[in-house]
């Protein structure tokens, strides 16, 4: 390219372009040049690339601090104006870590080229040792959360009220109760979240969604579905999209934004004021219950009425297990269950361990011939192995790695008790509950599993069914746990030991008697957990089960490792309410103090 032939004013135009001071006439002139001259396009691309490379260049000379000293590289970093502008180490750590946590799993940190630099901006300052995200996952150290306990002190904070399997791009999933960051681009890749705003407005986002909190009373939705509820006292709450500006006047509505910034608004209750971004001065429309409008964001096409649909408005997050609690040791590791909190029929219930219906392992059948690990047990365990199969509050006991089949068993379960012919036995394990578990709204069973970051991050898949399959009943396959490895509500598990057989053991009795190799685990485990709704197995509300059968789907080399299977009490309006249980727990805490 001979630059001597370029228009002499071109470089000046590009400087104005970079400074964002190009006039309309200059824009038109530059446009014409770009459309007609290949040498201009080449120069344009090179000059703009110089500008972008300057943005990146602060991290390309780390070995020459004298040239570009950046002590702030070691400090907690605020948001930058430009995604490419985060100083190198943190930028890469955030990218790698965020991707991992959003989607890839912590263990991959060690596999990516930026692993040695992987740490998050932390408030401790420059002396903080780098902490890899993988370490954070397995150790349970929290990188960024303000617990709900601080809520009163942060009256203007937007709080993560609920999380259902949420994974973010470029962010750790905050712990429930954490403060959300203002002016930060959140991208929800999976699951759902509910945010609570200071004056009481609530928004629920369904993945995939992208949004920013512009102020404690204003959210910008750039992609995805957002359900809004503004109760009395929170009127004036604002939702912005690339194509409209909505002011809540006490209502429920949903807004859906597509990839080109067009949006749909459906008013479920109350009143919404909509201001069209195309012409804020005059484009103000009031929408009432049952109305819907489409905002294209194009100047040529103003908003238009469309058919209203309540489908897509989410009043509640899905019924699920939302957390469990237990005493933690000095390393923040859990060993036993104290209580569990679930959403059932849209209502929150917290159950103490003593409220739960215990489940004992009553049959166990391996499916292969390989030697296998069969027991998880406390490190110093000396007693009768039979107790490991019985219900207790410990996560350090369990019968693990049951057999299974790719297709769940739909016929009669045959165990050694029913047949002497080992070829007819159904691989898997039976759990018998100490009381019948009645199908109520939402989850009725909880399964807790020991899991490492090197195993499927969603938890090990499994088939589950009632042992007795009445007409209409059927098995289901669980592939994603409510609280998986990446959930901030899962806990690191205290150290435990393993017992492994040297031969395949089909009978539970033999499992107790067989000589076994005793070993300690060398990797860190967490307790992951999920709720299971009996309705999903075709069991009508009010009906009950006494035994369930669990099989591994043999879809990978990892088998399910259940350390606790429990039933939930039947939902009764006078019992188990959050208020009553919380009152009990608060009373207990007060007594301890």
């Amino acid at each position: 390219m001979d630059e001597k032939n370029l228009p002499p004013e071109l470089q000046g135009l590009l400087e104005s372009l970079i400074n964002e001071t190009l006039t309309p006439n200059e824009q038109e002139y530059l446009q014409n040049l770009l459309q007609t001259r290949q040498d201009v396009r080449k120069f344009y691309l090179r000059y703009l690339d110089l500008h972008v490379q300057l943005k990146f260049s602060d991290r390309r000379q780390p070995e020459k601090p004298a040239v570009m000293p950046h002590p702030q590289l070691e400090l907690p970093l605020p948001e930058t104006r430009f995604p490419g502008l985060r100083p190198a180490i943190v930028r890469h750590a955030l990218l790698a870590g965020a991707l991992l946590l959003a989607a890839f799993g912590g263990f991959a940190v060690s596999l990516n080229p930026f692993a040695s630099n992987s740490f998050l901006p932390r408030s401790e300052g420059p002396s903080t040792a780098p902490l890899s995200l993988a370490q954070e996952i397995v150790s349970g150290v929290e990188a960024q959360s303000v617990h709900a306990g601080n809520r009163n002190a942060q009256t203007l904070a937007v709080i993560l009220e609920q999380d259902a399997g949420a994974r973010f791009f470029q962010d750790l999933t905050p712990r429930v109760g954490s403060e959300m960051r203002l002016d930060h681009q959140y991208m929800l890749l999976e699951g759902h979240i509910e945010l609570l705003f200071p004056r009481g407005a609530r928004t629920i986002f369904d993945a995939p969604a992208a949004f920013q909190l512009k102020s404690p009373e204003q959210v910008l939705v750039t992609f995805g579905n957002c359900s809004v509820y503004a109760p009395e006292g929170s009127e004036g709450f604002e939702v912005l999209t690339p194509s409209t500006h909505l002011i809540d006047r006490g209502t429920r509505f949903r807004v859906t934004v597509d990839e080109i910034g067009s949006s749909e608004v459906h008013v479920v209750e109350g009143l919404v004021e909509a201001i069209e971004e195309t012409d804020r001065g005059r484009g103000q429309v009031q929408m009432v219950e049952g109305e819907a409008r489409h905002y294209s964001g194009s100047e040529a096409a103003f908003s238009s009425a469309m058919t209203y649909s309540a489908v897509g408005y989410r009043k509640n997050l899905p019924d699920r297990l939302i957390s469990f609690q237990g005493p933690l040791n000095s390393r923040g590791e859990i060993g036993q269950l104290e209580s569990a909190t679930v959403i059932r029929g849209g209502e929150k219930y917290t159950y103490l361990f003593s409220d739960l219906i215990g489940g004992d392992v009553t049959s166990f059948c391996e499916s292969g011939t390989s030697p296998t690990i069969n027991f998880i047990l406390p490190v110093d365990f000396q007693g009768d192995r039979k107790v490991l199969a019985l219900h207790d509050d410990s996560f350090l006991t369990g019968v693990v790695n049951p057999g299974g089949a790719p297709v769940p068993a739909t016929g009669k379960i045959l165990t050694p008790k029913e047949s002497d012919d080992s070829s007819t036995w159904t691989p898997g394990m039976t759990v018998r509950f100490r009381d019948r578990v009645v199908n109520s709204p939402g989850p009725d069973l909880l399964i807790f599993e020991a899991q490492t970051a090197l195993h499927p991050l969603e938890g090990d898949a499994f088939h589950i069914r009632p042992v007795e399959l009445l007409p209409g009943y059927h098995p289901i396959t669980i592939r994603s746990y409510d609280l998986g490895m990446l959930s901030p509500e899962s806990y690191p598990l205290q150290r435990f030991a393993l017992l492994a057989t040297r031969d395949c053991i089909p009978r539970l009795e033999e499992l107790f008697e067989q000589s076994m190799a005793h070993s300690h685990v060398s990797v860190n485990y967490r307790v992951v957990a999920t709720g299971i709704d009996l309705s999903d197995m075709g069991i009508p509300l009010g009906e009950s089960v006494s035994e369930i059968f669990i099989q591994d789907p043999l879809d990978d080399e990892f088998r399910i490792d259940p350390v606790m299977v429990v039933g939930l009490p039947k939902v009764a309006s006078e019992n188990h309410s959050l208020t009553s249980v919380q009152s009990n727990r608060e009373q207990k805490a007060t007594n301890k103090e």
């Binding site: 530059l30 691309l45 972008v52 950046h70 995604p83 890749l189 090197l454 195993h455 990892f558």
Partner: protein, 191 residues
């Protein structure tokens, strides 16, 4: 837990296919992230818009990753996805009087891809040229590019003239561009 293990000699090397896919995406995206951003910026030369588009593209790339042919170039595929996103973006924002949208986007994208090797060499040359700047010039670059404040904010804080800062920056970029040209010319002569 992996089953074929005894005495604590547990093999935990396996990953599911999803994990492997995630890992592959992570590696590719990390490797090409800056170039993808630079590509978008050349098509949408406005900082906030380019940032917004980059974020959108990140999501779209992730969602479409299953469609990516692993034998092809991730960067080229990403640029194709980015061009579509830019087109969509233009449809909505074209009315804007303040944003400049270079046309034709596809042609610019194609020519930038073709010039990629040259641009990579120029980025290396830039690092060398930066070391030839005076301290005061590097200070200005730091303020303009690497610190968490806009030039306008800096001008207000120091009660200086924004236009003077623009002019100084412009001179620095022109000097850097000329330096890169010299170095590239030297490379060509030696190479």
């Amino acid at each position: 837990m992996k089953t074929a293990a005894l005495g604590g000699d547990v093999d935990f090397n396996g990953t599911s296919s999803d994990d492997a896919r995630y890992e592959a995406f992570l590696e590719l995206f990390s490797r090409h992230r800056d170039r993808i951003f630079a590509h978008i910026f050349s098509l949408v030369p406005h900082e906030a818009d380019a940032e917004d588009l980059f974020q959108r593209c990140s999501i779209v790339l992730w969602r479409k990753f299953r469609e990516f042919d692993q034998s092809g170039s991730f960067y080229a595929w990403s640029c194709g996805v980015a061009v579509n996103e830019v087109r969509n973006f233009f449809k909505v924002r074209k009315r804007s009087r303040v944003s400049f949208f270079p046309e034709p986007v596809e042609l610019l994208s194609r020519e930038r891809l073709a010039d990629e090797e040259d641009l990579s060499l120029r980025a290396i040359a830039l690092q060398s040229c930066l070391q030839q700047l005076r301290e005061s010039e590097r200070d200005l670059l730091r303020i303009a590019y690497w610190e968490n404040q806009s030039l306008k904010e800096f001008a207000e804080k120091t009660e200086g003239s924004l236009q003077v800062l623009y002019n100084r920056l412009s001179k620095i970029r022109k000097r850097l561009y000329a330096c890169i040209e010299r170095k590239m010319s030297g490379e060509a002569h030696h190479g």
